[in-house]
Amino acid sequence: MSALLSVRGLTKHFPIKKGVFGRPAGFVRAVDGVSFDVMPGETLGLVGESGCGKSTTGRMILRLTEPTAGSVEFDGINLVTLDSKAMRKLRRKIQVMFQDPFSSLNPRMTVGAIIREGLTIHRIAEGAAADARVRQLLDEVGLRAEYMSRYPHEFSGGQRQRIGIARALAVEPAFIVCDEPVSALDVSVQAQVINLMQDLQRDRGLAYLFIAHDLSVVEHIADRVAVMYLGKIVELATAADLYREPLMPYTQALLSAVPIANPDVKKTRVMLQGDVPSPANPPSGCVFHPRCQHPAKDAACTEIVPPLEEKAPGHWVACIKQPPTGVEWGVQQAAGGTKPPTRYLPVVASA
């Protein structure tokens, strides 16, 4: 099967302006050469902590932020070089769901008008046909059709998120970029929205790019997961593999930090020291090396930028110390390496 969305070397460097003339004094490397595919009907989770570049990646796919370099191919068309008219047409196929259900709906428009707008712009339906479509969409997202004449402020957060979903679905997209779609919601409402998203995916064959910081939500909804750190993808695998056997030391630390809602589970935490370094001045070599807990970490990690390598079928990891690696031991030694790669997989939880 060929990919629905193919992202290659996607990069965004924001200039840091200094002085009266605004000369760029450096760059914030928000996203630095990110590549991945999304298959039709698949959910790819994109996780990472604040500032790792996951939202910027989503925005670049939608061309809400212009990439500095790289390509985004959707159904064989490169979106990055598309003119605005053609892009607008293609937006029918690529929709978005935002985090904050309070600011992403126009407070002056009725729910019906919000959902109908896409139908009008893309000339899908008008008049009574559009009305019928809006009713049907509301029903599909679990809201009553009468709600179409109400305004967003009359709804709770979960209901607004449903309206956002109905708006996205109106134009029959194949792909939805979901940027933290449930993180503003309470647990019980979050479950409603997640279930709805899964139902719609199953019924319509939708593909999602699910951007989130909540690792348990992502494990539940995603088929594959990409982990970002300082603008780079450091690990990419099926959800099952990633959560069972995280190979990148950062993913290991991230997963071990998730609180477990079971007081009987004794957890050995991989405690990360310090904070994420500034993306304006990222560490040399492996961006994670200053905080890394891998026992074989050595000077080579500060020199060699680790390639994202396939360490097991479908399991991609950026770490030269996690075997197997194409970065030969001789090459590592030449860069000051003293400890040969060894497999490291900390046991983090036991019942």
């Binding site: 679990g142 479950a191 279930n195 939500v217 930090a257 998730v258 477990i260 904070d275």
Partner: protein, 344 residues
Amino acid sequence: MSLLSVHDLRTYFYTDNGLARAVDGVSFEIGAGETVGLVGESGCGKSVTALSLLRLVRPPGRIEPGSQIIFDGTDLATIDEKSMRALRGARISMVFQEPMTALNPVFTIGDQVAEVVRVHHAGSKREAWDRAVQMLETVGIPSPAQRAHEYPHQLSGGMRQRVVIAMALVMSPALVIADEPTTALDVTIQAQILELLRELQQRLGTSILLITHDLGVVAETVSRVIVMYGGEIVEEAPVRELFAQAHHPYTEGLLNAMPQVGHERERLATIPGTVPPPTSWPKGCRFHDRCPYAWDRCAAEHPPLYQIGTGHTSRCHLADEPQRRAEKHEPLVATLTGERSASR
């Protein structure tokens, strides 16, 4: 004897939309050196409970007469503002959610921690500064003597939250109320801060009331849990028991709705509907319209807190008629709104 004993706390807001009974008859205790979790979703009254304990509720809200907040033998609900001010930050303190808004951007962090000491006349300027630096070291700020001269914007989110904790602990209070202390932080930083709170709690013997919506945080941090819904306590239990045998259908719903790392499930269980507004709590049991077990009694009769076991109470008539648990059905709200809870 317990350190804090809250009895029938009611905090009402007199709003234009009517009387909002945000906290409506809450009673609980916290022992010396104990860590208690207060959980619930937005609008359940957990934060207003915290503000009430510190008497920080502003008009149109007020703590209703008859409410008692006995702290160390004194009723905080009735003492005058001057005595309250002497207690705040010294004997009881608070850690807020948003470290950026809890800190003043125009003062150095050292000044802000030292100010707490100065306000409580606990030493000269020099002594206050030294104590602040010492406290910053205790909460894990590297090279505290230099960092004390920095401003909040120069610190990361995790470091700022450490400063807020330093402010809360510098007077060695008997009770710290932490309102969502890690919600604004990334998960790896959250792990650091929770570890710090645990360590400080053990070292200093401080009691902690941890307010959060995150059941995972609760499971790892506290010994006893209080669950709030609709301005009331609906369940209280030792942490192990709550997670193993939740009694109240709301607690059960919360636990099932939460995705968990390592648990594979096809679908998440949901609680249909939303938390009702505090101006119009449903009659009878406040959860009855969202409850999959509710029967006619639940809509008519407001349930008391039933004793379930040692230290375990639940505000649910199922305690009285346990056989009803076998009769699970679609909740009332699902049929009223047309909202679907189950799969299609």
